[in-house]
Symmetry: C2
Subunit: 372 residues, 2 copies
Amino acid sequence: MPHIEVRYLLQCLEKDAPARADLLRLEQSVELPRAALSERFVLEEVVPEIGAIEARGEQRTAVTLRFSSHTVADDPAQLPNLLFGNSSLLPDVTLEALRLPPSLDALLPGPRFGLEGLREALDAPRRPLSASALKPLGHGPERLAELARTLARGGIDVIKDDHGLADHTYCPFAERVAACQRAVEEVAEETGHRALYVPNVIGTPETMARQLDLCRELGVGGVMSAPMLVGLPTFYEWVRKVDRPALAHPALAGCGKMSPAVLFGTLFRAYGADASIFPHLGGRFAYTADECHALADALRGPDGPRRAALPVPAGGMDAARAAEIVRFYGPDVMLLIGGSLQLAGDALLERTREFTAELRRAGAALAEGDTP
Amino acid sequence: MPHIEVRYLLQCLEKDAPARADLLRLEQSVELPRAALSERFVLEEVVPEIGAIEARGEQRTAVTLRFSSHTVADDPAQLPNLLFGNSSLLPDVTLEALRLPPSLDALLPGPRFGLEGLREALDAPRRPLSASALKPLGHGPERLAELARTLARGGIDVIKDDHGLADHTYCPFAERVAACQRAVEEVAEETGHRALYVPNVIGTPETMARQLDLCRELGVGGVMSAPMLVGLPTFYEWVRKVDRPALAHPALAGCGKMSPAVLFGTLFRAYGADASIFPHLGGRFAYTADECHALADALRGPDGPRRAALPVPAGGMDAARAAEIVRFYGPDVMLLIGGSLQLAGDALLERTREFTAELRRAGAALAEGDTP
C-alpha cells in the first residue's frame, strides 16, 4: 500500500508524543474519538499509521504519519485538507516534511516546463537567471512598459508584474499586458535579447481564465499567480490550461505553519509551478539558510517523475548580493531583484546592466570552480 | 475617499512602531523603498495612510493602515492580497481587525441567505440551532445515510458531511449525496422534522461546479466548502452560483496570522458564507472567549448592507455543554456536535434526542431570562 509520509513538529515532550500523535492522526482523518471507531477498514486503512517519533530538543517532537494514498480521492483539494486541514488551526503543530508516493504521480505530474523549459524559453542553458518586477502599483501601462523596456535592455531574463498589479482602472490588465509585451518584443528586435514578460494573473477562476486567454492572444511567454491566494486546487486546474511556464508567488501563504520547503517547494512543484518565488534569507523576511537550502532541494531534487522547478529567491535583496546568492544556490536559480534596481532612478538601465553582468560573472566563476 | 481600515499587531516597541508601520504600508502596496517613489498619486492614493498607533503591553504595538478602496480593483482576490499578501510571511505581524468601507459593498454583498435565511429554511425562527457531521471517512454511502437518518430522527437541524469526505471510491460523492438526501427526506415524511443535509463540496473549480449541479438536481438544502482550501476568490465565485445556503469550513486556515474574527467572521461573511464553522473555546483548539465573542460579533453585528451570518461553534465540543454555549452566544447560534454524539454507539438516537431537547431547553431558558 503506497503511503504519503508527513512529518509534523509538535510542541510537546517526547514522552507525551505517542498520545499526541494518536490525537493528530484521528484529527487528520476520521475526526472522531477512537472509542467511536470499530470498523477494521477505517482503523487500518483510513486512520494513518504512526511512523518515527523523534525528540527535537526540550519541548519539541517530530512525528511522522503515513496516510494511505486512497484517502486523497484523486482530488487536489483533498490532499492539503488531509495533510493539514484542521491541524493548521492548532497553535502548536507545524507541517515540516512531505513525501508523495508514486501512486499520486498521475494526479500530481508537476511542472509542465520546469527549470529546463524555462532555460529553453530563455535560451540560457547554464547560467544563473535574472528577474525583476514591474511596479509600483499606481503607475499606468505606459510607464510600466517603459520600465519593462529598460529592464529588458539591461539584460533581465524574466520581467514579471508585481503581484499587487490587478485589473485597476488606472492600469487595466489588458492594456498593461499588451504594452509590456510589446516593449519586450521591441527590445528583442533591437538587441537580440528576448526577455520573458510574465503578467500577474489574479481573480476568481473565471477572471483567471479570461486573463489567460488574453495572455495567449498577446503571445506572452509566461504567467504568474499566487497559489495560496487563488487556492491550491484553482492554481492546479488553471496551470493545466496554461501552455507556457507558470511562476508561483508566495502571497497569503502565512508563516511557518507549513515549512517553506513543503509549501513553496514540494506542494507548489507538485501542483505544477515551473518556478517558485520565495523570500531569501537576509532580505525583509526571516527564512534561515537551512530553510532556503531545503526549499531549493524540494524544488530541484529528484521527486518521482516531476520535472525540476526553478527556485526564485526574492524579498528585498540587493543586486550587490548576486555572487553570494549564486554561490548559495548554484547556477540553477533565478534572482529576482526589484526595489534595489529602481532605487537607481534615472540610472536604472546602467544599474540593471551591472546586475546582469555581475550575475553572468558569478555564473562563470562558479562554472570554472566546478572544473578543477 | 472611502478607506479600508486594517489594524495589524506588530511585535515591536511603541517607539519603533512609526518606522515599522511605514515599512508595512510600503510592503502592502508598492513594494518599493520610499526613495524609489516620486509620483504624488502613488504616494498619496496608493500607499495607505497610517492611522492610530497604540501600545499593547511591552513588546506589541497595534498599527492601523487606511487603504484607498480603488486599490482593490473590484477583485475578490486582490483584497486579501492587499491586506496581507506579503506580510502574512512575516513572523511578527498579525492582522487583527478589518473594516470594509461602503465603496466595497457592491463587490462584497455578503450572505445571500444568512442567519435569517437559514432560520427560514429550517422553520426555526428563534431557537438555537443544532448541527452534526456525517463521518468517519471510510464508511460507505449507505452507512452515512443511516447515520443521517438517526441524526434527523434525533432532531438535528443541519446534518453536514465531514469536511474530510471527498469523492472517494468507497464513498462516491454522487451516491453519498443521493443516499443522505433521501434519508433526511424520508425522516421529514415520517416525523415532520425537516433536517437540512449539507454535502461537502471540494475540488477544483470545475469539480465544485459539477458537484453543485448534482446537489441542485438532488434538491439538497445547503452546501459547505472551505474557503481557505479552495481559495477565497473561488469560494466567492462559487457562492454566487449556489442558490441555497452555503456553510464555510475553516480547514487550512492556518492559525493566528489573521485573527479568527477577521478571517472566519468579517472575510468569510463578506465573501458570502451564510454560516461559518469555527473552533469554540474549550474544545480541541485554542481560541479564547474574547476571540469567540469577537468572531460572533463579526458574523452577526451590523456590517453595511451585509446580512448577518450564523456562527457555528464546533471542534470537539460535548452535548453536555449545550446550555453553556447557548448562554455564551445567545440564541442566534448553531451548535455543531459530532464525535461526542457518535460515542453513544447504539444509543446514538437517544443521545441525539437528549442533545436537541437540551438545546431547546437552553433556548427557552434564555428567552425567559430575556423577558423580565
